[in-house]
């Protein structure tokens, strides 16, 4: 969409001018702040030799009907014995802790937002500051949002005290939501991300096979990365009180990766207290320009990360939400118990299942393609007050 270089800066200016023009002619109907609500979430991911679980707590509260503040505490407890880890090292455990907070300020029909997030691992630290503005207009049928965030990271390598590299990320987002009919709403999102610095994994190695033999130097990625993503989402209210949600997204980046994904979701309430949900999501991408499972000569940029290879995946999801209406829950405006399960399946086109046994049997670079599946569980309690 709009990069932060000189070539694209006129497009940023055009977007901002457009925003100002639209603001100037909005109609006077008040917007509202997000609801006072807290979520206590337990999350679990298990697949491909990796287990990640932990809690997340999100709390939000309004003050004086014009200010809403939120705080989030999130933990990933990782136990990894993935294919990469097993072929290049040994299984490990680690923990990532993320804390964040933000404030939303409502003035008339404009909401302005400020947020800060900090993430800490033993070998990676990240801080992100974000600002945003959201405007409702056209009789509250339309909402325009603009966002910007900047993240500053420090990449380290456990066992190498001298290794410390910076990375910076900037994100520009634009969103437009339109109520089309009394049963139909549509949303368009665009986001440009611009990265600079040390952008590859600090541990992963590539296989370099030359006349002299096999060596395994560290991966080397370009120090700049720009990407554009566009998404269209739509929801339709069915005549018997159920909802259908569709989403399509496309992505391109300066490393040669193009991807698409689409999702269909069906939400079905049952009696007063239950809401059931099912979804299907499919994703596919091609490989980065500098990806190979085996390199035959040294190159400036070399990647063997499976996320840089060509692959496709799909997700099947089921979920249920139950509203507790017991006497003890009456202290809250509303209390729900929620359980969601997602089954994910990944099929790689050119990322090999490079176990030593396969390499010996099929030869270097001729190993069968890798695939794996994962189960993702979310269990959470939501309270409104």
């Amino acid at each position: 969409m709009f990069h932060v270089n000189q070539q694209h800066s006129p497009r940023i200016a055009a977007h901002l001018l457009l925003l100002v023009a639209v603001f100037a002619q909005g109609t006077a109907l008040a917007a509202v702040l997000p609801e006072d609500r807290s979520e206590l979430l337990y999350h679990s991911y298990e697949g491909g030799g990796v287990t990640i679980n932990g809690p997340s707590v999100l709390v939000r509260k309004q003050f004086a009907e014009t200010v809403s503040v939120w705080g989030n505490y999130y933990v990933d407890m990782v136990s990894s014995a993935s294919l990469d880890v097993l072929t290049q090292g040994s299984a490990y455990t680690e923990e990532r802790t993320e804390t964040g907070g933000g404030i939303d300020y409502l003035h008339d029909r404009t909401t302005m937002s400020l947020s800060y997030t900090r993430s800490i691992e033993t070998d990676y630290e990240a801080s992100t500051v974000g600002i945003g503005i959201s405007q409702e207009f056209f009789g509250d049928l339309s909402t325009l949002t603009l966002g910007y965030s900047q993240g500053n990271d420090t990449v380290m390598r456990n066992g190498d005290e001298n290794f410390s590299q910076p990375a910076q990320h900037q994100r520009f987002s634009l969103g437009f939501t339109q109520i089309l009919t009394k049963n139909w709403i549509m949303s368009f999102s665009a986001e440009t991300v611009s990265d600079t610095g040390f952008l590859n994994n600090a541990y992963r190695q590539v296989r370099l096979s030359q006349v002299g033999g096999l060596s395994t130097p560290f991966e080397s990625y370009p120090t700049t990365h720009n990407s554009d993503a566009y998404a269209l989402r739509s929801m339709y209210y069915l005549p018997y009180r159920a909802a259908l949600r569709a989403e399509v997204r496309t992505y391109t980046d300066s490393w040669g990766v193009k991807s698409n994904n689409y999702e269909l979701r069906y939400i079905h309430p049952y009696k007063d207290q239950w809401i059931f949900e099912t979804k299907y999501r499919a994703y596919s991408q091609n490989q980065a320009d500098f990806y190979a499972s085996v390199f035959t000569e040294p190159r400036e940029f070399m990647a063997s990360d499976k996320e840089m290879s060509a692959f496709s995946d799909f997700t099947l999801g089921l979920g249920a939400s139950y509203e507790v209406k017991a006497d003890w829950a009456s202290v809250f405006d509303k209390l729900t118990l929620n359980l969601y399960w997602d089954y994910m399946s990944f099929d790689y086109d050119n990322y090999p299942n490079k176990t030593p046994e396969n390499t010996q049997e099929f030869g270097l670079g001729n190993e069968p393609a890798y695939s794996f599946s994962a189960n993702v569980i979310r269990f959470f309690v939501s309270v409104w007050y």
């Binding site: 639209v22 990532r96 269209l232 909802a243």
Partner: protein, 83 residues
């Protein structure tokens, strides 16, 4: 399916710009066509694009850590340290 998605997503770019431009040029004579008293269905909680913010943020993180595609998730991004 790939060509269908490409076609739809190319259309989505045009849709975004056209709708914003259309509102910019035409708000003065096009009036809101869904009246406030007709928005009961749209306001139903099941019609929220994402009903559960912490849960949605987590799923976006799950996908972004395993796929090259990123951005335009429809909710705020942030530092993840997932490189």
């Amino acid at each position: 399916m790939q060509s269908l998605i490409t076609c739809i997503t190319a259309g989505s770019k045009a849709f975004g710009y056209l709708v914003v431009l259309g509102l910019f040029c035409g708000c003065s004579f096009i009036q809101p066509w869904v009246k406030p008293y007709e928005r009961e269905n749209i306001a139903d909680p099941i019609m929220s694009f994402e009903s559960n913010p912490a849960s949605t943020k987590y799923m976006n993180h799950v996908f972004e850590a395993r796929e090259a595609g990123r951005g335009a998730e429809g909710s705020a991004g942030g530092g993840c340290g997932c490189n």
